[in-house]
Structure formats: structure tokens, C-alpha cells
């Protein structure tokens, strides 16, 4: 018999018109995954890259060795950060629809990834985000009006009008500039961590990308350099199942988890329920301690779901079932933390509604303030000469000349 090789094309489980199908997902029950010592050898903990660390069970109770045992005030802060992120996203989405900003990207359904990680890290740790990590800014205390001004490219825009909406940065808050090109931040975070180790700093670097971007060479450079130099870094693959219209199988997730890329490079690989705040918090603590104590990097795969469109320029109804998210087996991160707090007797639907209303009012007031500094189309506007600044530290002659040409052009009007 002659066997012929046949090109395999990864199958997308459900397209428009199909019923949601998440039978491909390998889940572990809450509490069953072992928690190794943070100094454990990679080869002794490889199963962690195939299992799924979960803490909250179906009855909203935290179970198992990964329970970070956070107290109720801390959990309420977490809920507040996640809810603010969502309310902010909702508002900016609607504002984009009204034409006031050009573009927006929501993190709907993925709020726990940024919020839990930022809360579990130290203020000195340097964050290298992707474009769906707005929760990092929220946790680190950036006034949301600053984020809005960036989205508006107005006179208070931290980027001076040079970046698409959501490409924030915040030096003081130790949050790196978002490129807009995918995955480039991953090996940069490793370089930052290498420098921290060279200088003997205790701070670690943390970076995020989507499972789709993990196909880029930069992802592999990051893992390789992190492994070779045992860099104090946490590398996160946010597996939200979708890279615009392309299912995660096309990024290589069909046969093996993304976390399993870690052990292949000699790096600890953890797979975590990305919608379980407590589980994300716990694995972050574990990986941060591992990095800080000189035991090297960790690759974490957050299993989550991109509940929103990729961006305001995208329409997911064209490539996935409309009700896909309703079938997602890991639920919603805010609902799950809320359920946990209610089960603890520390929260209620009424308090939740009141908090939502408070945050909506805060976001509305911030928006009002933000637009007072101008919009992309309404005054006050940024001075166009700003486009010539910061190309270099000092403006070289050819740019001074071009700046003068523009001034003359604008004066002639």
C-alpha cells in the first residue's frame, strides 16, 4: 500500500451558522493541578504546560494548592479594576462608533489577565504590553483621562499625536510603549530583564502577546534568549482563541498547548484559566518568585476568549458563530470573581450595580475632561510641528529645514 502525505489544514471548530464547539479544549478541574516549588526543574514540571491551573470551582469556592488566599478587600479592588476596565472599554467603543475617535480595541472577557497580573507584581517590575492590556494601566493608577487623551490624539496626548488609539506608554508607571507591530515587545522584555540581571536589580520584566503573534520570530527569539541567559522575565501568551478571523489552530495550537513551547526551550511553562482571577494571580506570584530568586523565566499561557471584535474595524459575525462566547466553558472573569465575592458574603448584586454606576459616572466625567483638551478634529489641536520632534534627540538640519517648510506651507494656508 502506498501512503501519500496530504496537506493538513487546521480545522476551525465553528464558523457562522454552526453551534459553538469548544470540545477541543482540554480542561482540568479546579484545584487538581499540583503546585511545584518555584525552584523546580523544568523537566520535573512539564505536565503543567498541558494541564490547566484553576482555583475557582463551579460553586465559586477557591480550591487547591494554587489558591492565593487573597482577602476580601483585595478581591474587591480587583473587581473594581476589572469593572473599570470594562466600563472604560464600553464607553470608548461607543465613542468610536460616534466618530470621535478613529479606532478602538476592547479587552472584553480578558480583563483578569492584565488586572490579576499587575496586582500580583511589584511596582518596580517593567511591563511590556500588547494592545489588549489596558488593565495594566488601570491597576497601576494611570488616570483614565490620560488614556482617553491618547485615544483622542489631543493636546494632552502622551504620544503627541503620533500613535493610533490604545498604543499607550507610561514611563513613570513602568509600562512600555506599545508598538502596534506584533510580538516585537517580547524579546525586548527579555533584553530588559537581562539588563536587570546584569545590574543586579530585583525587578523583573513581564510581557504579553496573543497566541496568533506567537507565530512571529520575535516570540521564539524571546524564549531562546530568556532560556539561554535565564532572564528574570514572565512571558505571557494570551490565548484568546482568535487572531482576527484566524482560529488558534493556525498559530500552532492544534496539537500542543502554547505553554508547552516553554519546556521545549528549557523554560517553565504554565497553562492557566485566564478567566479565573485567582488562578492568574497565583501563577503570576509563582513565576515572579521564580524569576526574582534566580530560577529563570516562565512562559504562561492564559486560556481565555476574545469576547469582543478584534478591533472597531472588525466584524466577527463574518467568521465565528454569533453566540460563540455564550458557549465558552470558562465563563466571564468579572462574573466569576463577583460570584466568588457573593459566595463569601462580601458582595451583592446591589453593590455591584452601585459600583458599575459609580464607574460609569467616573468614565463619563473623565471623557468630558478629556475632550476639553481637544479631539482629532476639534480644537485645541496639537501643533503640527511636533511631528518633527523626537525623531532624534536633537533635531538635525534636514528636519529643521522641513519643519520650516511646513510652517511656511501652513502660513500661506
Amino acid at each position: 500500500m502506498v501512503t501519500k502525505s496530504r496537506l493538513h489544514v487546521p480545522k476551525t471548530p465553528a464558523r457562522p451558522g454552526d453551534a459553538p464547539d469548544f470540545s477541543y479544549l482540554e480542561l482540568s478541574a479546579a484545584g487538581v493541578v499540583k503546585r511545584p516549588e518555584t525552584s523546580a526543574r523544568v523537566r520535573d514540571m512539564q505536565s503543567l504546560s498541558d494541564e490547566l491551573v484553576r482555583v475557582l470551582d463551579d460553586k465559586h469556592q477557591p480550591v487547591g494548592p494554587w489558591n492565593p488566599r487573597l482577602d476580601s478587600p483585595e478581591l474587591q479592588i480587583a473587581l473594581r479594576h476589572m469593572l473599570l476596565t470594562r466600563v472604560f472599554d464600553d464607553r470608548l467603543q461607543r465613542i468610536q462608533r460616534s466618530g470621535k475617535i478613529s479606532f478602538y480595541m476592547r479587552s472584553l472577557g480578558e480583563e483578569a489577565v492584565s488586572v490579576a497580573m499587575a496586582m500580583a507584581l511589584q511596582p518596580g517590575d517593567m511591563l511590556f504590553p500588547s494592545y489588549r492590556n489596558q488593565g495594566l494601566h488601570v491597576v497601576r493608577g494611570r488616570p483614565i483621562v490620560d488614556l482617553m487623551c491618547q485615544c483622542l490624539s489631543n493636546t494632552r496626548d502622551m504620544c503627541k499625536g503620533r500613535q493610533l488609539p490604545v498604543m499607550y506608554h507610561w514611563r513613570e508607571g513602568r509600562i512600555f510603549s506599545i508598538s502596534g507591530n506584533l510580538a516585537t515587545q517580547f524579546p525586548q522584555a527579555v533584553g530588559w530583564a537581562m539588563a536587570a540581571a546584569i545590574k543586579g536589580q530585583d525587578d523583573i520584566a513581564v510581557s504579553w502577546l496573543g497566541e496568533g503573534s506567537s507565530a512571529e520570530a520575535d516570540f521564539h527569539h524571546a524564549l531562546l534568549f530568556a532560556s539561554v541567559y535565564k532572564a528574570p522575565v514572565i512571558l505571557n501568551v494570551v490565548n484568546n482563541q482568535w487572531a482576527i478571523s484566524t482560529f488558534q489552530g493556525h498559530a500552532g495550537g492544534e496539537r500542543r498547548s502554547f505553554a508547552a513551547r516553554g519546556p521545549g526551550y528549557g523554560i517553565a511553562g504554565l497553562r492557566v484559566d485566564g478567566n479565573d482571577f485567582l488562578a492568574v494571580y497565583a501563577v503570576t506570584q509563582w513565576a515572579a518568585e521564580r524569576a526574582r530568586t534566580g530560577h529563570g523565566p516562565t512562559l504562561i499561557e492564559h486560556v481565555t476568549y476574545r469576547a469582543a471584535a478584534h478591533s472597531t474595524s472588525d466584524d466577527p459575525a463574518r467568521y465565528r458563530p454569533k453566540e460563540d462566547y455564550q458557549g465558552w466553558p470558562l465563563g466571564d472573569p468579572i462574573e466569576r470573581l463577583k460570584g466568588h465575592l457573593i459566595a463569601l458574603g462580601e458582595w451583592s448584586e446591589e453593590r455591584h450595580a452601585a459600583l458599575t454606576a459609580e464607574l460609569e459616572a467616573h468614565v463619563a466625567a473623565s471623557w468630558k475632561e478629556a475632550v476639553s483638551h481637544g479631539t482629532l478634529t476639534e480644537p485645541p489641536r496639537l501643533d503640527p510641528h511636533l511631528m518633527f520632534e523626537d525623531v532624534f534627540k536633537e533635531m538635525p538640519p534636514h528636519l529643521r529645514k522641513q519643519e520650516a517648510e511646513l510652517r511656511a506651507e501652513l502660513e500661506r494656508g
Binding site: W170, S179, G191
Partner: protein
Amino acid sequence: MAQRNMIHALNSAMDIMLGRDPSVVVLGEDVGYFGGVFRCTEGLQRKYGEHRVLDTPIAEGGIIAAAIGMAVNGLRPVAEIQFADYIYPGYDQIVSELARLRYRSAGEFFAPVTVRTPSGGGIRGGQTHSQSPEALFAHVAGLKVVMPSNPYDAKGLLIASIEDDDPVIFFEPKRIYNGPFDGEPDKPAVPWSAHPKGEVPDGHYTVPIGKAEIVRSGNDLTIVTYGTMVHVSEATARKLGLDAEIIDVRTMVPLDSDTICSSVARTGRCVIVHEATRFAGFGAELSATIQEECFWNLQAPIMRVAGWDTPYPHAFEWEYFPGQARVAKALKTVMEPA
């Protein structure tokens, strides 16, 4: 003061900067224990340790990205890309990240990375060890682009590059690492010790980025060139008995167009000489700039001498290389009376 070839001059620059500034690190393929395939980093790891002079995996994209991250964390990395022909896996990190980080973050973040890379042909390197890709970097907003033509400038410009807060792509014309080369491969090699620019001070000094140098004053015409071709141009003009003014561009970005244009305005004739391919090469930028500034002073069309618009062929090295014959033809053409 000591006689140094370009390799020793570059080594001295890194040695001095590693010694003066604890934030300086050197990284690249084979740069550590071995001291680099061209020996530019020889002895530095032994002297400054494995944390300051790092051997890296063969991943140019990773090298540049790691250097960027290090720079954001306060280091001043000098990254070696073993051959300019290997730089392309790092091109995205250079173009999209290194060049634009200061801009996109409105000055909050920047990465003072120097990327050193040997370039150019004349060493029987075939199409993967001979390229001159400087135009690909000069075209990118946010990068400084430098190419020295002698040991004195190499050391001074490399120190200036490492001290610069902007990213610098530093091309090293490897054909003249060991001695100046006049374009005639069959003649015995000449060492740098026979050349005045082989005199290199021991200590710290800089050659400013953004300043061209008039290496020979003259009245007949202006030759604008850089790297190896400075020496080929000098030899050719001498043989033709021309009183040429020869300008070594040294820095492509920022370009010292004042020095170049005031010379051409005076001589009225100009030949641009580089090793890189001609089409959309850096010579086109030079020619356009000079034409815009000096059109009414020109007595002849500006000529360009360059490598042919083909990949660099192994077997036809000297038919490809823009040697004295090609330079001479252009010089004679621009000297023809109007």
C-alpha cells in the same frame, strides 16, 4: 598615539567605553570568548567579564531586540551583526522599534543602541558577505548612519556613536580593516601604518557624527564618497592628475550637506562614488541634494559611480567592484568642457 589598523582602533573604542561607562555592554555572535570573526572585540570579554561582553545565539532579530530592551533599562549596548548581509532578520526590530521608540513614546523611552556591522566587498565574500546596505537604513527616519574610512575616524566615530542617545547603525568597510585599498587587488597590501590616519590616539576622543571631512582640497571637481571608495577615488584622481576635492561623507544621517554643497558650488563638477548598488542607492540622495542646492553652479551633470545593480557575484568580484577604471571614466566625463 599608536599605529593601529581599523580593527585595533574599533577595539580600542569599545575598550575605552567599557572601561569608562559601566552601562556599556557588547553583544553579538562570537564576540565574547573568541573576540569576533574579524577580531574587533578580542580580549574585551577577558578584561570586562561575561556579563559585559556577551556571546549570543545566532539570531540577529533577537540580538537587536535584546539590545533595545537593555537600553530601555539603562544600558548602552553595542551590538555586533557579524556581516551586514546578516542584518535583515533584525531589520524589523531596527526599523519599526529601534528607530521609532523615541518618537512613538514622545521621548519617554529611547534606546541608545549602536549596531556595528562589517559591510562592503572586495574580500571574495560572494553575495552573502559583500553587501553595502547603508541606503536601507539611511532611508529610515530615526536612525543615524555612519561609515568611517580609516582607523582614526573609526575609533572617534564609534565612541561618538556609543555616547549618542540616538540609535546608530555603524558600517565598517571590512576591505579596509587592515589597510587602505586603492581598488587594485593585485598590488601588494598596504598596511594602515603607512597612512596618516593609521595614527590613532590611545585615549578617549570623538569624531563628530554629522560632519563630513574634506580629505583632500582641490579645485577641479568634487568627489563625494565614503568607506573604501575614499581610497579608490583618491588614487584614481591622483593618477589622472586631477586637482580633485575629495569629501568623505562619514555620516549618511544626519548628512553634512553644507560641506558637500559648498564644495560643489565652488568646483562646479561632482562625481559621487560608492560601492553599493546604484539604483535608489545613497548616491541618488546625494545627487538630488547637490542638484537642488548647486544647480546654477554646475558645469556638468553629476555622475554616479557604484556597484552594478546585481547581487554581488563571487566569480566576478573585480568586474563588479567600482574600481579605478569606472571611477576614472566618470571623472573624465565630468571634466569634459561644456
